[in-house]
Symmetry: C2
């Protein structure tokens, strides 16, 4: 393991060694004669000795060292991490190759790993087929924001007129949904969990250019309720697993990283999802708010961050499902509620305290004529001929959702900046390593 | 589910319905009066009735239908998949949005999903931390082949002189190894399982532009033997799981897709890994071969596909580890064996019948002076300053490997073309959907 602290007391040397398996260190007790020049904070060591029951109440076991071998020394003067210092996350973000050695990022990455495993298990246990939806896609007109385009590195240097590697322009995916819908025509339950990309020039604490999304699609599903139930079950199951597998890591966040924030994974809020309002109700709530907003709430307009924040507070600072959004606000694949001529669609967003939108989903328009006329009006009929095929051949009512994985981690841990919820953050002007 | 077959007999209607949960269909028995125009092959149906023990020995249960509702009809004349026809994989590859509805791709995707889950479980059960290594990276000089470069889609249309979204040129990753090595400085065992990219203009049946790789890195490991052991354990555990969870799906491949090939997952070969030879021995074997090669085998040259094939046959058509490759053949991070002045490095490739290279790995050069002088000679010292830092601060002996996931599936199932081992294949001149 690596030396996390070192202390000489009389003739005894105390070391704390960590091998990354948990936040807790192993205490090593040695004769001070074993101390040497290379034995410093950050150095890698191999210790041989006897594991004994510790006399101290803070730990169960300690290692009585017979030999200490410094495998890799560490120059503490140039090493950016310092012993016994809780350095700010902004500071350690400058060292993407070393920050995983800090307690905070170590805990974050262990939690992230457990949450990843729990997500796979949740879906597998519920009979979902896992699909690797493609990263490179020729679909470019989903309207989910600015895209990244790809070229061969030799091609990129030449004129843009040359032929493309794939013959067609190719982009990094913004969502696996449409590809999951392909699979929902053969498997009743499918999911994907992979990277998605947005080329937005945002420096917000909630946006990355490369982030992970969990997406699921359910066939033979006719109600938004079913979709919301899966969102809720996923959230609860994964959060319970993380809580039981990484109690110390989670406690570190709640104690040191976000003590002032409401985020407390053990609080009942995390397991309380009963607030469900329609978009129309949401707009009414906002209109009647005593608070004044920068963006005036108006039926037919997107909910802004300030609106989401107010709604969550209004509902008692718990997760809130907002359903049935205006038809014109949502993409072509959302299912028309037929509550008026193209009035609302069966879409749902999950808003959570401190973050805003955590999940988005809905029922998909499975009825060929509705979809055809909408695509025609948008001039997308040719581009989505393959998508129309899914409705021509054995179409079924279905729906699904996506959850931003880093936002989920931000929410359960109270991590202020999304850049600290991913091992190697990519955002505009920054792609370190 | 979806109708897979339909048969009228006297006054009885027999349907086979499939919901994607397994290769096996559910037999539905109905009064022929329930037949209607929309009830065709490929249509989506909801059937209500009684599940009873089947009188036929081919199935346990059947459904005695009371009502059959066609949720989504299917125009069998324009539907590219046909009833009772085993269409060639090349044919169905033309329909990336429908091919998952064929038996073969259905089985492949269920197996792929189980293998994915088994890989996550294997590493989690063995104490590995899962890391999402980045897809977009600014490292461009690993020498693992032609890269894809990314730009914002608006930027791509303009001059190449403009500023980059990330300020620096950015590429799609060819491997998560270097980023895993960062993590191996904090966690003893780490792994990643994600997409990797090569822009090679290859139409081979073993190459994709976008493919999945399982990669692991182990700290405090001083022997290639340890790395090979993990490769072997991973292979055996995942294969056993797939075999026990998807016996019918696997049987379909061995019966219909690759009957002539040696690939039989139940055969002992799959669990027999005892052949380990050094690169030098391999070259000697090739030199003494009675067979003549297009590329003359010579110490210091890469093993060609024809060589790999011969070596595997020579060893008895079983997986073969080849170790200790020439120093100059391998990337800068491979550990010098010091068996001569820069003679060989501790690298290992796993060759398997029918495929060739399935895994590649090795020990990494953990000794700062060795690494510094090698990077200096290559003129890469500045680009890899961060990588040298990993050796300056608490460096440890470590190593790891990567396994191509689609090649793994090709191998265990006997899939001839790698394009049929991934849901949405991307290769030069092709990026459908």
């Amino acid at each position: 393991g690596w030396v996390r602290s070192i202390r000489s007391q009389k003739e005894i040397l105390f070391l704390h060694i960590n091998d990354g398996s948990s936040l807790e260190n192993l205490q090593v007790v040695a004769d001070s004669s074993l101390e040497n020049r290379d034995l410093t904070f950050g150095s890698a060591v191999e210790v041989q000795g006897k594991l004994v029951k510790s006399p101290h109440r803070m730990q169960n076991m300690e290692l009585q060292a017979e030999t200490i071998h410094v495998v890799g020394p560490c120059d503490i003067w140039s090493f950016p991490l310092k012993m016994k210092q809780r350095q700010p996350l902004e500071y350690i973000r400058q060292f993407p190759h070393l920050r995983c050695r800090s307690n905070t990022l170590g805990s974050l990455l262990r939690i992230r790993s457990e949450a990843t495993a729990a997500i796979h298990s949740f879906f597998q246990d519920n009979g979902y087929v896992h699909i690797h939806t493609p990263i490179i896609t020729s679909n470019d007109c989903e309207g989910a924001g600015e895209l990244f385009q790809i070229e061969t590195s030799s091609g990129a240097r030449e004129s843009a007129e040359k032929t493309h590697f794939f013959n067609v322009p190719a982009f990094l995916t913004v969502s696996g949904q449409l590809h999951l819908e392909v699979m929902a025509g053969a498997f009743t339950h499918v999911f994907t969990f992979g990277p998605t990309f947005r080329a937005e020039n945002s420096q917000s604490r909630r946006h990355l250019a490369e982030f992970y999304m969990v997406e699921a699609e359910l066939s033979f599903t006719e109600s938004l309720q079913d979709i919301m139930q899966v969102m809720e079950d996923l959230f609860k199951t994964v959060t319970s697993t993380v809580l039981s597998k990484c109690p110390h890591d989670v406690a570190l966040f709640h104690k040191y990283v976000s003590p002032a924030q409401k985020s407390d994974i053990t609080h009942k809020d995390f397991f309380f999802f009963s607030c469900r309002i329609s978009y129309s109700e949401a707009v009414e709530i906002l209109k009647q708010a005593s608070q004044s907003f920068t963006f005036k709430p108006e039926w037919g307009c997107d909910l802004q961050k300030e609106h989401e924040k107010y709604l969550v507070e209004h509902c008692g600072d718990i997760p809130v499902f907002v359903i049935n959004y205006p038809y014109d606000l949502k993409p072509f694949y959302m299912r028309d509620n037929e509550d008026g001529p193209q009035h609302t669609v069966a879409a749902v967003d999950l808003l959570v305290p401190g973050i805003g939108e955590l999940c988005g989903g809905g029922l998909r328009e499975e009825r060929l004529p509705f979809l055809e006329s909408r695509l025609q009006r948008l001039g997308l009929t040719d581009a989505y001929k393959w998508y129309l095929d899914l409705r021509k051949f054995g179409s079924v009512p279905h729906g699904g959702f996506g959850m931003g994985f880093e936002r989920y981690l931000q929410y359960i841990l109270g991590v202020d900046n999304i850049k600290d919820a991913i091992p190697f953050p990519r955002f505009s002007h920054s792609c370190l390593l």
